[in-house]
């Protein structure tokens, strides 16, 4: 113990930039080297598994690249021109992705906000409900989708329950409008627990003084939520919204298992279509061009939200 303290003292007494004796490097350089060595495994992984593929995707997107035959021909921007001018599925897929995201994000965030407020109150059985809403998050996505596919059958599952109360339910996964609504709602139920946890943590950090003071001044519940709680949750809400949008744009397994992109391509979203082109028709070049579009859309949305936060987020350190 004493010896380690002495070593520590001697390090603190050393001046940055001074050579420490036996090495080629001075203390600052050695510390920098140590730092780089510590982050090296992570950086190596990042370069090989993240940055490398991203750069490769941009290159592939300018090629007629067939995964099966291995033929790669440079074709410039032809994949992008095909996307915009001749591919009949691309506009449908973009429209579906927009519908999916616009349906999922508000539903998920509003539900998470309301439930997180309810679950931070001190009422009986609140722990049970916290567990109940978080359980789907840790459930296997595959099991979740398969169970819901059975529950949403035309004449069984939920519909047989509805029939008992005299309501004729739609064919949830086989009617285009209802299929999209079904995948959105089941996806929200699956993931809303994560946003609830994030917002609950933020809510618990807001001092009760503000709300109590407002109450003394005559503010009602809605006014306290609107003018105190939500502004103070601003930074967290921004993170939740960004993460939910990005997550919704990346949806794939849920669609594959519940609807397979159908009926009539009504739930065929961008990532599903990228997968189809890459691994079903083996057009890796075209799939890469679609992936670049997804990358650009995600990047633009993130930048826009980052800029907007200056206007709408008040409580940021």
């Amino acid at each position: 113990m004493e010896s380690s303290m002495m070593n520590s003292d001697s390090i603190h007494q050393s001046q940055p930039g001074r050579k420490t004796g036996d090495g080629w490097l001075n203390l600052r350089q050695r510390e920098s080297l140590m730092g780089y060595l510590f982050i090296a495994p992570q950086m190596l992984g990042f370069f090989i598994f993240v940055l490398g593929p991203i750069i490769a995707i941009f290159i592939f997107s300018t090629q007629n690249r067939n995964l099966l035959s291995g033929i790669n021909t440079p074709i410039g921007l032809d994949n992008y021109i095909r996307m915009m001018e001749t591919d009949p599925f691309f506009p449908v897929v973009v429209r579906n992705s927009v519908i999916f995201t616009s349906g999922l994000v508000p539903l998920n965030v509003v539900l998470a906000l309301v439930l997180s407020m309810l679950l931070t109150t001190k009422i009986r059985g609140v722990t049970f409900f916290r567990t109940l809403f978080f359980a789907p998050v840790i459930t296997s996505a595959v099991a979740w989708a398969i169970v819901w596919r059975f529950l949403l059958q035309g004449d069984q599952g939920i519909n047989s329950f509805l029939a008992m109360i005299g309501v004729e339910g739609p064919n949830w996964l086989r009617e285009p409008g209802w299929a999209m609504a079904s995948v959105i709602v089941t996806r929200v139920i699956k993931n809303v627990g994560l946003n609830i946890v994030i917002l609950m943590a933020a809510l618990q950090n807001i001092p009760s003084d503000y709300s109590e003071a407002a109450q003394v001044d005559g503010a009602n519940l809605w006014q306290r939520i609107r003018y105190i709680t939500i502004p103070l949750l601003g930074p967290t809400l921004m993170v939740v919204i960004v993460l939910t949008i990005i997550g919704s744009l990346k949806v794939f397994d849920h669609i594959l298992l519940m609807t397979g992109g159908g009926p009539a391509n009504a739930t065929n979203v961008l990532v599903y279509y990228i997968w189809f082109n890459a691994f079903k028709t083996f057009q890796m070049g075209y799939a890469s061009a679609l992936a670049v579009v997804l990358f650009a859309v995600t990047m633009i949305i993130t930048i826009v939200q980052w800029v907007l936060r200056r206007t709408y987020v008040y409580n940021e350190d």
Binding site: L67, S69, P263, F276, T281
Partner: protein, 423 residues
Amino acid sequence: MSIKRVFLFAVLTSLLSLVALSASAQDEITIRYTLWIPPDAGQMEAFNAIKADYEEMNPGVVIEYDFIPFNDYESVLTLQLSGTNPPDAGWLVERSAPTFIQAGVLADIAPVLNSAEGYDFADFSEPAMSLWTEGESVYGIPFSTSPFLFIYNKTLWEEAGVALPDDLIAEGNWNWATVSESLATITESTGTYGFQSNDAALYTGNFWITIVPMLRAYGGDVWDADNQCVLNSEGSVEGLTVLHSMIFDAESAVPPGTEIDFFAGDAASTIGQLSRVGRLADAEFAWDIAPLPSGSADTPYVIGQAAMSVFNNSANSDVAADFVRFMTTQENVTRLSAYFPPIRASVLESQAFLDANPSIAPERINDVVATAINNGTVLASHPNFPTIELTTRALLDELWTPGADIQATADLICGAIQPLLDQ
């Protein structure tokens, strides 16, 4: 011992180990063979026996069966073929044949087959080989040329009191008009669906297997030999109308969005191949097979095919080709024929084939299976098949609604897939 000596000893030991390792690696050749039947399936018994025989006859060769689930088979296989450790040989389904041959990933195994003593390549039915040959080149040997059959739950048919398929065949009434009436009666009297599509795949999976028999029963098809879309022809529309009516008018066929299983006894009939009969081994109901019903045209004989191929990237393609040759000798084709109907004429006509599947009477195999193989045509395929399938499925969904305009939908599909067929 000095450090120098220790170092020298370590280097020498390492070199010797490397030499020994490389020598043993050179001695042993591993052939990785991809297939879509799980290792514990009954059909694998015959494959394992053939593998054991080959390994015994060829010391130093190890055969490894590599299972890939059917739904992901083409995608996973393609990824493996584009990697650094590709499989050596494997199965391919008929729809993959044009795409894989055109991509140049299949090895020509004709030289190995032609030089093998006693192989008798001429024994294979030439029409059944057509998908897998180009001139003198051979890119695959079909091990399963399996006709689609009408498989029915005899218990439910008897319970409903309707004439059994055998009686209808004897009366000359084995057609969809009569069958759909029987199925409607079964649904009414037993509360069980009369008809389930092949593997329940009509709305979400391989829909071709159910619609092609309906189209061909009325003289139609999806596209013809000249790659011209004929889905909107009079016969095709008639076939689709019968199927649509069974689903939405008589409500005897399983509708979209309902998931039930014929093999669990939840439907009175389905369309499937001989290999599916294996799933009925423990069925708690009586069952039988019949030919596909006819329509306004003659009995349709529709065949699904799977072949064994060798991949060009294989480092041991000669050994892999020799293994494929061994698997498709007359003796081994007979061993596989219990589940996989052969195209070797000598086996097809043999008593051994008729007796191969103990759960089906020999005369039934002869009347239903062998007749269909001799008269059938393989399911349609095309190099653009995946895109054609995506397009057709999306537009076909319009059909699976009550009151759909069948002719208009068929016209729409033909308009969309003809450019893809022309490519």
